[in-house]
């Protein structure tokens, strides 16, 4: 459904952030995009949703297509109307508006189905309870739900999630995880950008690892979970298991083989 081919993005005309990355999100599946800080994960999402302009970024090479149509270079509102919605990092709810107004703002393009708000209130009953509350006073978890709900108001076919687990308690992360699965089961494809690799790979069918603007691993979720580099650098699993002694700790870091 979504195809990114050889995408190259430059900020401020000089800073090369994406160095020809490619990825594919099939219809109705969850795909995880993993990687450390500064790898370019958020830049990928900005390129997908036409938000590079705001940050003085530009696609210099490659193209993005959605259902066979090239969408790179389109305006943000055209892309949203075309069926891709983004939940931005850090939630970014309209704090001064009420919950209901936030949701209505999400439905601006008019592309949403008539029952979009029922769907959101079904998924997040807490939002229905607090629909008249000022969004800025919701708890962090509720704000994250509101941000996801707001994006769903446009009834997207592809939902982009940028670090939905950021700054949330483990219990809430679990809850958000289940909600993502539920949204996916209702037929929406999800591109999940996460630093919490364990959580992301537990629900994704496929995963990409991005480092310094390049895709270094591109495997199914099970293969990634079993990958030795992946385990050591992202999943925090060590060969010795839990009870290893500090005497055995190596004085050097094992080199990531994919960067050689």
């Amino acid at each position: 459904m979504l195809d990114v081919r050889n995408l190259e993005v430059v900020y401020e005309d000089v800073i090369l952030v994406l160095k020809g990355m490619s990825m594919h999100v099939p219809d109705g599946e969850i795909v995880a995009l993993l990687g450390p800080n500064g790898a370019g994960k958020t830049t990928v999402l900005r390129a997908l949703t036409g938000l590079l302009d705001v940050h003085r970024g530009e696609i210099t090479r490659g193209e993005i297509s959605f259902d066979g149509e090239v969408i790179s270079g389109r305006q943000a509102h055209e892309i949203v109307a075309g069926g891709i919605s983004q939940v931005m990092e850090g939630r970014r709810v309209f704090a001064e508006l009420t919950v209901e107004e936030n949701l209505r703002a999400g439905a601006y393009t008019g592309g949403g189905r008539a029952d979009a708000s029922d769907r959101v209130f079904d998924l997040f009953p807490v939002l229905a309870e607090r629909r008249r509350a000022t969004a800025g006073y919701l708890s962090g978890g509720e704000q994250q739900m509101l941000a996801i709900g707001r994006a769903l108001m446009a009834s997207p076919r592809l939902l982009l999630l940028d670090e939905p687990s950021l700054g949330l308690a483990p219990q809430l992360v679990e809850q958000i995880r289940e909600l993502i699965v539920e949204i996916n089961e209702q037929g929406t494809a999800v591109l999940l950008v996460e630093q919490n690799a364990t959580m992301a790979l537990s629900i994704a069918s496929h995963g990409y690892v991005l480092e310094t603007g390049k895709v270094v691993l591109d495997k199914s979720a099970e293969e990634l979970l079993a990958d030795q580099d992946m385990q050591e650098f992202y999943l925090g699993v060590h060969a010795g298991g839990a009870g290893h002694s500090f005497r055995d700790v190596k004085h050097y870091r094992r080199r990531k083989r994919w960067l050689s």
């Binding site: 949703t49 705001v54 509102h77 949203v80 001064e96 508006l97 006073y137």
Partner: protein, 298 residues
């Protein structure tokens, strides 16, 4: 007592016009963080066309007002699209400077159209008055007050209930997040300028009717809305309305009493009053009466 009530009523009429003008500034500031110094020019631009259609062409005055409001909106939107949209993302200071330049250019054009004479607006009120409970109120004041209340209410309903009003508030709060929801933020800026342009046009028409007239010096009036917005809080719609009323009434009360009570202050002292009120309020509340406290979880 009659003097007092009369001053209050005429102050309220003046205040609603101030509120209209101040709202123009506030709408643009909220949407784009730019204080638009082009408002005086937009005001005389609109007033000129109201005068033109009502006296030169001879149409009904209210029809002329509506046409002026539409032309003011178009002018505002065109200015935004041509001169301010390219500056989005650049320092706000540059945009403010551009609005000053636009104000000068547009005013020179309107001055040329106007000529050096005082022009009457062709309104049906002239110098007629109504007498309510012993207070004499000029009909034009009454009409301006009712007209301004109508326009301001319409604006509030627009902001509260419509999709576009909501989108404007969302875009004012967080541009990037609004874009991510599919709100075309550039169009919202244009809409803000259009609204401000039409409000300026209506306000310009109202201040020039009755016993006043439209001339090359009418534009100065718009700058008297500056103390109003600073007083009310730059980003507050409620502040613009309340601030307008306070300053209108204060100005007219001083005009009524100061020549008798403190003649040594000289003539025309009421024109200084808006600034005095502004300074006093700022000493007590530095963000203005209703400058927004940020919504934040603690």
């Amino acid at each position: 007592m009659t003097t007092f009530l009369q001053a209050v009523v005429s102050g309220l009429a003046l205040g609603t016009i101030y509120a209209l003008l101040a709202l123009g500034f506030v709408i643009i500031y909220r949407a784009t963080d730019v204080v638009s110094f082009a408002q005086p020019a937009l005001m005389v631009f609109g007033a000129y066309w109201a005068m033109y259609f009502a006296t030169v062409i001879g149409w009904n005055f209210w029809v002329a007002v509506v046409i002026a409001a539409v032309l003011g909106a178009v002018m505002g939107a065109v200015i935004e699209r041509l001169f301010l949209r390219p500056l989005v993302g650049r320092p706000v200071f540059s945009a403010v400077m551009v609005t000053i330049g636009l104000d000068i250019v547009l005013r020179v054009i309107v001055d040329d159209l106007l000529g050096i004479n005082q022009r009457t607006m062709g309104d049906p009120f002239g110098l007629q008055t109504v007498n309510i409970g012993g207070i004499t109120i000029p009909q034009s004041d009454l009409a301006a007050m009712l007209g301004a209340i109508l326009v301001i209410s319409a604006l509030l309903v627009f902001y509260r209930t419509t999709k576009y009003g909501l989108a404007m508030r969302a875009a004012a709060f967080d541009q990037e997040a609004a874009m991510a929801q599919g709100i075309p933020v550039g169009r919202m800026f244009g809409l803000a300028w259009a609204l401000a342009g039409s409000m300026a046009a209506i306000a310009g028409t109202f201040i020039s009717m009755g016993n006043s007239s439209l001339s090359r010096s009418t534009w100065v009036f718009a700058l008297r809305a500056l103390p109003v917005i600073v007083l009310g809080g730059l980003d507050s719609i409620r502040g613009a309305i309340v601030g307008g009323l306070i300053i209108g009434v204060a100005e007219r009360l001083v005009a009524a009493y100061q020549p008798g009570a403190a003649p040594w202050l000289g003539a025309g002292f009421e024109l200084v009053v808006p600034y005095i009120v502004m300074l006093v309020v700022l000493l007590v509340k530095p963000y203005g009466l209703y400058g927004t406290a940020e919504v934040q979880r603690v």
